[in-house]
């Protein structure tokens, strides 16, 4: 130690003192700066803590929201009452890594006893491969998953998968459509709203009512079986909003089956199919003629002889062979009378009218499957004549029934919609005067009460309608007599129609009960009548006394026989 403390060393006190004071001062200054720095730091930290915990404690909620509370992928499709028509369920699928399996034989035996449709042989082969991944069974039920877990097999694992499920099976197959295995919509609403369904929590609310849909389906399927028809379609539409309440097309398919349905079953005959409508088209002819002012309800036409237009002879199916008044022409469905009426109005005006009705262009609808109507390019007298009773223009059943809705609702045409509430900005326009519409209501009621549509009646519910029987085309000509479509279009209750209904049977055959007849009045009309009887109490339509003077004053229509030579 050279500089020991005890060493007496000459000290220059002055120098030491001055050194001490400057050093102390500097240390003081430094520590004060540091202190201020620390204090500022603490104030900042305290401020921040206060900010987080007192002033902005509500932000906690935002933080919590970052966590998803659901993992369901594709949105639901609901009916108008919130019933789930399509939803996505997460399921588990069992797979195995054969390399991890200790005893292949034991595993194969256990799994094959659990799933009788998986054979021991195929399982054994699967599990003995050199792969590292083989499916055992996909989309298990929770019970099955638990059972596999219970086996305690090493090397068997589960994978989470999503599966589109349609709880109502076939009931709404054509409207809702279906998806492929990767949950991409490939038909119906599933396809049309594919994009918005993918975005989470965006359900599609349809205007369909499953209860009404079922009644329509039930009666239509029964009718189809009874009359040995090869196909059928039925539509119920709200007259005021043009919302589709029910829509069925048969034959159909089960969207829960992963197999791709065949073309015939997947074809939506209600919207995609276009057909010549036959006599039900006379509703439009009559409304057009009445609205043009060329005829009134007291007018009449001579239907005693066949009528020639060009090279065509027009005959009546239910021939009366005399002069018929306008109401009689409608109730007996006279072709001759309709043709004469249409020719009085003229082909040009007829074309204008059908264009205004939107029957000459595809109809806007929330389905990818909509048919493009067919109309003649040359629209002369011959065209006008055949179109007047429903031949020469082919439209989809939905277009037909939507047109009828505008005939009975006071004359306003709207676009049909499958979405609850419809599209608010959807255009609507007047096609006939409310006065003509009122006459049409009376005429349609007459046709059901006393004309060809008697079997479509449902006592108390004031049904109105029109029957039709349209021959089917094959190649260039019309095929034999027993090959036709039978139609009924109706509305109820006629004093202020709430719903319009269309029933179409493809190639119905006459039976003993109908005395061999297979026309619209004998086959489709009774189906419609049954449906109206069943759904009216359900949707809150009260039965009324049809003979009461109040109802008669609204719906009565005279149809005097005209005595002319």
């Amino acid at each position: 130690m050279i500089y020991g403390a005890s060493t007496s060393w000459p000290r220059d006190d002055r120098l030491f003192q001055s050194l001490e004071t400057t050093e102390t001062r500097q240390a003081h200054q430094r520590s004060i700066v540091l202190l201020i720095g620390i204090i500022i730091g603490f104030i900042f930290v305290i401020g921040k803590i206060t900010h987080l915990m007192v002033l902005h404690s509500a932000e906690e909620g935002r933080h919590a929201k970052r966590f998803p509370t659901t993992l369901i992928g594709r949105g639901n499709i609901l009916d108008r009452n919130g019933n789930i028509l399509a939803t996505t369920l997460t399921t588990s699928s069992a797979y195995a890594n054969p390399k991890d399996i200790l005893n292949v034989e034991e595993a194969a035996v256990k799994l094959s006893t659990l799933f009788p449709n998986l054979s021991y042989q195929s399982l054994f082969e699967k599990l003995s491969t050199s792969k590292t991944f083989v499916w055992i069974k996909r989309n298990l039920t929770p019970q099955q998953q638990e059972a596999i877990n219970g086996l305690g097999l090493p090397g068997v694992y589960f994978q989470r998968e999503e599966k589109r499920v349609y709880p109502y099976d076939k009931l709404t197959a054509h409207v809702v459509g279906f998806t492929d295995v990767d949950n991409n919509g490939i038909s119906g609403i599933e396809k049309y709203f594919d994009q918005s369904l993918r975005e989470n929590d965006s359900s599609v609310h349809l205007s369909l009512d499953v209860r009404v849909q079922h009644i329509l389906y039930d009666e239509l399927a029964n009718g189809m079986e009874k009359f040995k028809a090869i196909g059928a379609s039925g539509i119920i539409l709200d007259t005021e909003t043009s919302e589709v309440i029910a829509m069925v097309s048969l034959p159909d398919f089960d969207p829960n089956q992963s197999l791709k349905p065949d073309g015939n079953a997947i074809f939506n005959s209600s919207t995609l199919g276009i057909y010549e409508m036959g006599s039900v088209f006379k509703i439009f002819t009559l409304a057009m003629a009445l609205d043009s002012g060329k005829i009134n309800l007291n007018s009449g036409y001579d239907t005693s002889k066949e009528f020639k237009v060009g090279k065509y002879k027009i005959k009546d199916f239910y021939a009366k062979n005399r002069w018929l008044s306008v109401p009689e022409i409608f109730m007996y469905s006279s072709n001759i009378g309709s043709v004469k009426m249409a020719l009085d109005v003229g082909p040009e005006k007829q074309r204008e009218f059908l264009e205004k009705m939107g029957l000459l262009k595809p109809m806007p609808l929330e389905l990818p499957e909509t048919g493009k109507p067919l109309a003649p390019t040359r629209w002369g007298d011959v065209g006008a004549a055949t179109i007047s009773y429903g031949y020469g223009v082919a439209i989809s059943p939905l277009q037909m029934i939507n047109g009828v809705a505008s005939m009975v609702n006071g004359g306003i045409l709207r676009n049909p919609t499958l979405i609850l509430g419809g599209s608010k900005d959807s255009p609507e326009h007047r096609v006939i005067s409310s006065n003509t519409s009122e006459k049409m209501r009376r005429l349609m009621h007459l046709s059901v009460k006393e004309g060809t549509g008697k079997k479509g009646d449902a006592d108390g519910y004031l049904v109105g309608g029109k029957t039709g029987t349209a021959n089917k085309t094959s190649g260039k000509g019309y095929v034999s007599k027993n090959c036709h479509r039978a139609l009924f279009v109706g509305a109820f209750p006629m004093i202020k129609p709430r719903y319009v209904i269309l029933i179409m049977l493809d190639e119905p055959k006459g039976i003993k009960e109908t005395f061999g007849f297979s026309t619209g009045g004998w086959t489709s009309a009774p189906i419609a009548g049954n449906i109206i009887k069943r759904i009216s109490p359900l949707v809150g339509i009260l039965p009324m006394d049809e003979k009461s003077s109040a109802i008669q004053s609204v719906l009565h229509i005279g149809h005097p026989k005209i005595d002319k030579e």
């Binding site: 993992l71 369901i72 019933n83 939803t87 369920l89 009931l171 209860r211 039930d218 108390g460 069943r534």
Partner: protein
């Protein structure tokens, strides 16, 4: 500034920082704990939501009108309501009053109409 004051401040700062350190440590652990609980609860919510979702689909499946109709045909044999079985509230008193017999129905309805209490 005397050195004793400085010493006091240093001690105070030291104490404060130790205290705050302790508090922050405590809070941090509380937060971790809460976050863990939240994750657990969120997992539960997801599971419950999925269960509800499955139950809703199952409810729809069990309520298939076709199935209900089949059950009705098997066990109840109820038929659709006929038009003569339906009456509105408005027409009800007149329906009862218009009956031929002079049963108690008629009297009660008539008295209720007048607003007096039936005795």
């Amino acid at each position: 500034m005397t050195s004793s004051v400085l010493r006091n401040i240093t001690a105070l700062t030291f104490l404060l920082s130790t205290f705050l350190g302790g508090v922050i440590y405590h809070i941090k652990h509380q937060v971790l704990d809460l976050e863990q609980r939240m994750q657990g609860i969120n997992r539960q919510i997801i599971n419950t939501n999925e269960t509800i979702h499955i139950l809703k689909a199952e409810w729809g499946y069990l309520n298939q009108p076709k199935r209900l109709q089949g059950l009705n045909n098997k066990h109840l044999q109820l038929r659709s309501i006929a038009h003569y079985q339906v009456a509105s509230y408005q027409t009800f008193p007149t329906l009862v009053a218009s009956r031929q017999h002079k049963g108690p129905d008629r009297i009660i309805v008539a008295r209720k109409k007048e607003g007096s209490i039936a005795t």
